[in-house]
């Protein structure tokens, strides 16, 4: 179908040119040609074969799933790609803490799948996958019916643990998946009187976006100083120290924001009482007017039900980082936050894992082996105030001895301090990253 429209587009272009030569005005020629060319470029950007050479089902339309669908169509030779996603739109987690301070709207962080469909010829199905048969390479949809393919790529993101006690996620929002939870936390912060106590918890690593909770704490501290004078922000970290960017976050927590932030490490939460807004911890009971409770994270239930969550703690899915095939089921690939690798769980590097997977699959469908030396990179900016940011980056090379992605020491690290320039660069980075993923 796509190929037919591609050929049609070219033919129209050709006709336009020759009829122009036959005596039409030059201006008309130029206009007609421009239209014909852009039409053929649009339709022909990634022409779809009438008979696909291979079919791939991608489950999950976040940073990893959307990127793998796009790049399979860009790089694959006549690969038919079907993306299955629950929600008709994606709301970016990246930048979503800025919604809490009123600097961003959720709509400015919302992305659709139209370009994926029109420019790259990805088939997008808004539905939920109830079950995966990893041997038959088939999925069962909530709406009824099944889809089958040559390979499945799973990119389902994360799921959250619950808590003992009376836990109400709406009274103690995580806001760690952008959307209604973000709005809820923003409203609770706005409604808090001055001199209040906000509690933010950080789960044991690995969790999504290692610097994320610290940057949110810094941003909220800066916002509280101005908007809620005399307020306190208690940060309860399950980890023994800052998980990442230790220098910048130490300086911010203990220097710049010391009047607001109270930082506790090695905090274990045994139960919660959402009615009285209390957390029961190894430090005793801790209460607040607003509690941003970010729970421990794991791969969603579908990953476990498919038998893929075979990491020692049973939380994530080990993969071969040359092609991201599951270690448990070779026809199912897993990218992004639900996989167990040495790489951080974050959108920027999930995009690169998607490219490695797309490249490996397009080679596989041609009877070739994956690239034996893939490189991936992670990069992000952290808000230290409402107008200044730091950055953090890492480059990973494949190590054939350990079969792991290992970070290159002198290519990995953070900025020395923070700046307004970095905050500007953060906006450029975000725009580029979302463009490379969704457009």
């Amino acid at each position: 179908m796509q190929r037919r429209s591609f050929i049609t587009g070219s033919a129209v272009g050709g006709l336009g040119l020759f009829s122009g030569c036959g005596g039409g005005s030059v201006a008309a020629d130029a206009t007609g040609t421009a239209e014909a060319l852009s039409a053929s470029q649009r339709a022909g950007a990634v022409p779809m074969a009438t008979t696909p050479k291979a079919r791939v089902i991608v489950i999950g339309g976040g940073m990893a799933g959307t990127a793998v669908a796009k790049y399979l169509r860009l790089w694959g030779d006549a690969v038919e790609v079907t993306l299955i996603e629950k929600n008709p739109k994606y709301v970016s987690n990246i930048m979503s803490s800025l919604v809490l301070t009123g600097q961003r709207t959720l709509s400015s962080l919302t992305y659709g799948y139209d370009t994926l469909k029109s420019r790259y010829g990805v088939k997008v199905v808004i539905d939920e996958v109830l079950a995966i048969d990893p041997v038959a390479v088939r999925v069962t949809l909530k709406s009824g019916g099944t889809l089958s393919a040559d390979r499945i790529v799973l990119a389902p993101g994360i799921a959250f643990d619950s808590y003992a006690g009376s836990y109400d996620v709406n009274r103690m929002p995580h806001a760690w998946q952008a959307g209604p939870q973000t709005t809820l936390l923003a409203q609770q912060l706005a409604a808090m009187p001055p001199g209040g106590t906000v509690v933010l918890t950080i789960p044991k690593a690995p969790y999504r976006c290692p610097p994320g909770p610290y940057e949110r704490a810094c941003l909220l501290a800066d916002w509280l100083k101005v908007n809620k004078p005399r307020s306190k922000l208690i940060v309860l970290d399950a980890n023994p120290d800052f998980v990442t960017e230790v220098d910048n976050f130490s300086q911010a927590f203990f220097g710049l924001h010391a009047s607001v932030i109270e930082y506790q490490t090695n905090v274990a939460i045994s139960s919660v009482d959402s009615a009285s807004m209390t957390l029961f911890t190894n430090l005793g009971a801790i209460s607040g007017q607003v509690i941003n409770l970010i729970p421990p994270q794991r791969a969603p239930a579908l990953v476990k039900a498919t038998g893929l969550a075979t990491s020692p703690d049973g939380r994530f899915a080990p993969v071969d980082v040359l092609n991201y095939a599951s270690m448990a089921q070779s026809r199912v690939h897993l990218i992004g936050d639900s996989s167990a690798t040495t790489q951080p769980k974050a959108g920027h590097i999930a995009n690169q894992e998607a490219k490695v997977c797309a490249d490996a699959l397009s080679r596989f469908f041609k009877g070739q082996s994956p690239d034996p030396a893939p490189v991936t990179n992670s990069a992000c900016y952290s808000t230290i105030t409402r107008s200044q940011a730091s950055w953090l980056t890492a480059v990973f090379q494949y190590d054939p001895a350990s079969k792991l992605m290992t970070s290159v020491a002198n290519a990995s690290g953070a900025s020395e301090g923070w700046s307004g320039d970095n905050f500007e660069q953060m906006n450029t980075w975000f725009k580029a990253l979302m463009g490379d993923t969704f457009a």
Partner: protein, 101 residues
């Protein structure tokens, strides 16, 4: 619309068709390496994002990366990134990016 000679329009159209055909058979060496640049410089290095790198000469891109390594471009994020690749990898990704137009 500006006045464009008809033959030039025709030639441009043919060149586009030839370009599409050529793109199908172009070597993929360096493509996956170069794709590490796309998150910040746009798909195929064509933006939107930081500096557009598509279509610069391979040598120019390679030399830029060596300058980032030397520290003469400051202590920004690229000073780190440039050390993430072997010299052979830098050559491959530069060659790939130089062919993106």
């Amino acid at each position: 619309m500006t006045h464009i000679p008809r033959c030039a329009v025709l030639a441009a159209g043919l060149a586009l068709v030839a370009g599409l055909a050529q793109a199908q058979t172009t070597s993929t060496t360096g493509r996956l390496l170069a794709s590490n640049c796309f998150q910040c410089h746009g798909t195929n290095g064509k933006g939107p994002g930081f500096d557009t790198i598509a279509g610069k000469s391979a040598n120019e891109i390679y030399q830029d990366m060596k300058e980032f390594q030397s520290g003469q471009e400051g202590k920004g994020i690229m000073a780190k990134h440039s050390w993430g690749f072997t010299d052979a990898q830098l050559r491959d990704l530069s060659n790939y990016l130089s062919r993106q137009r």
